[in-house]
């Protein structure tokens, strides 16, 4: 199939799943410019991988998460354009729209701060959990066994609970 002929189908998939791709970028980049760069790089890699994509072989979401996470975690790219000042600790990423001020907002800010302090791999588990992926799909995306996913997921949740009790 020629690139011009493939473009409409590809664009339909990307446009239908923009939210998913943006959420991957939000989790891995705190800076708006970096997020934009990452989004473009993911779309570029999706386009390159599109000719090999077989709808019967994997769910489209699995394919999108694979490419998104591979680019975000393993690609050789500039990590940050504007590194956060170290003294202030990890920059709070804009993970979700801020709720109304109140106890919930404080809890949410603490949770977001805790997530931002996780490693790239741990963030991948958090992402897939938040996206309500099954253990089977998580295993398929990450390339590990379901049992391993279950164990890792528990550990990540424990770590998050621990981080929530520690000041940033």
């Amino acid at each position: 199939m020629s690139p011009a002929a493939a473009a409409p189908d590809f664009l339909a998939v990307v446009n239908a799943n923009q939210g998913l791709l943006h959420r991957v970028c939000r989790l891995y980049c705190s800076d708006a410019d970096d997020r934009q760069d990452l989004y473009q790089e993911i779309v570029l890699q999706l386009w390159r991988a599109w000719p090999q994509y077989r709808p019967g072989a994997a769910k489209v979401s699995t394919w999108l998460y694979r490419v998104g996470l591979n680019v975000a975690i393993s690609s050789l790219r500039q990590r940050t354009r504007h590194p956060a000042p170290e003294r202030l600790g990890p920059e709070l990423p804009d993970l979700a729209p801020p709720p109304e001020p109140g106890p919930d907002a404080d809890d949410l800010a603490e949770l977001q701060s805790a997530i931002s302090r996780l490693s790239d791999v741990e963030k991948a588990f958090v992402l897939l959990y938040l996206e309500e992926r099954t253990y089977e799909e998580m295993a398929d995306i990450l390339g590990i066994t379901q049992n391993h996913v279950r164990v890792k997921m528990h550990r990540v949740q424990d770590k998050l609970r621990h981080l929530l009790t520690q000041p940033a």
């Binding site: 473009a7 409409p8 664009l11 990307v14 446009n15 923009q18 939210g19 943006h22 959420r23 939000r26 989004y39 473009q40 790089e41 779309v43 570029l44 890699q45 386009w47 390159r48 991988a49 994509y53 394919w63 694979r66 490419v67 996470l69 591979n70 680019v71 975690i73 393993s74 690609s75 050789l76 790219r77 500039q78 993970l95 979700a96 729209p97 709720p99 919930d104 809890d107 949410l108 949770l111 490693s119 790239d120 791999v121 741990e122 991948a124 958090v126 959990y129 938040l130 996206e131 309500e132 398929d140 995306i141 990450l142 390339g143 590990i144 391993h148 164990v151 949740q157 998050l160 609970r161």
Partner: protein
């Protein structure tokens, strides 16, 4: 608040406005200057291969059509270096093209990237050292043919000269070894460490 409570809020995040892609945006994305270092390295490797081919062509033309006596040894040196560099750029291009495949599971992708990058860096290091040997041999050969009086004398002088040569070769070799290692560590060290960390984390079971 725990992760479970955060799910609904996470999934309901608004998508940034004006992000819908169309064919024009896709075309622009494919043609604009690449932001990813891998894409940039791929483009550079292609340019380097083109330059190497041009160098080989010009050198061959020089060897065939220019009758100056010093052209032949210099041409042979240039050709040897160009062949070594071309071999490296070819492998670099192949390795980088493989790195571009990103639709497999994360663990396999990271493992493949680590393997490919390590192989590429090993090749770069070996070819750099090989180029040094070629250059050294060429300089020695040129000195021997063009300045033969330097290599004549009694046994003691020859022994001293050999010692100096060996020392110079050793120091140069160590310097190039150190600089190459430093350059590779500076360019890829952090990325490799990070990938190793990711792989370790994905594989740890205890």
């Amino acid at each position: 608040m725990d992760l479970h409570d955060f799910r609904r809020q996470w999934q309901q995040q608004p998508t940034p406005a004006g992000c819908a892609a169309d064919e024009a945006a896709l075309r622009a994305l494919l043609t604009e200057s690449p932001t990813s270092p891998v894409t940039r390295m791929l483009r550079n490797a292609r340019h380097e291969i083109i330059w190497t081919i041009i160098t080989v062509g010009l050198t061959l033309a020089g060897l065939l059509f220019v009758g100056l006596p010093w052209i032949r040894p210099l041409g042979v040196l240039l050709l040897t270096s160009a062949v070594l560099m071309g071999y490296y750029y070819y492998h670099k291009l192949r390795a980088l093209s493989r790195l571009g495949t990103t639709d497999g599971p994360l663990r396999g992708q990271v493992a493949r990237q680590l393997r490919t990058l390590r192989r590429l860096l090993r090749l770069y290091y070996r070819l750099t050292m090989a180029t040094l040997v070629v250059m050294g041999s060429f300089l020695l050969f040129s000195a021997y043919t063009h300045l033969p009086h330097l290599f004549r004398g009694d046994a003691r002088t020859l022994w001293q000269q050999s010692l100096w040569l060996a020392l110079t070769a050793l120091v140069t070799g160590l310097l190039v070894h150190w600089l190459t290692r430093y350059h590779l560590q500076h360019q890829y060290g952090r990325h490799l460490d990070r990938l190793e960390g990711v792989l370790r984390e994905l594989e740890e079971t205890q």
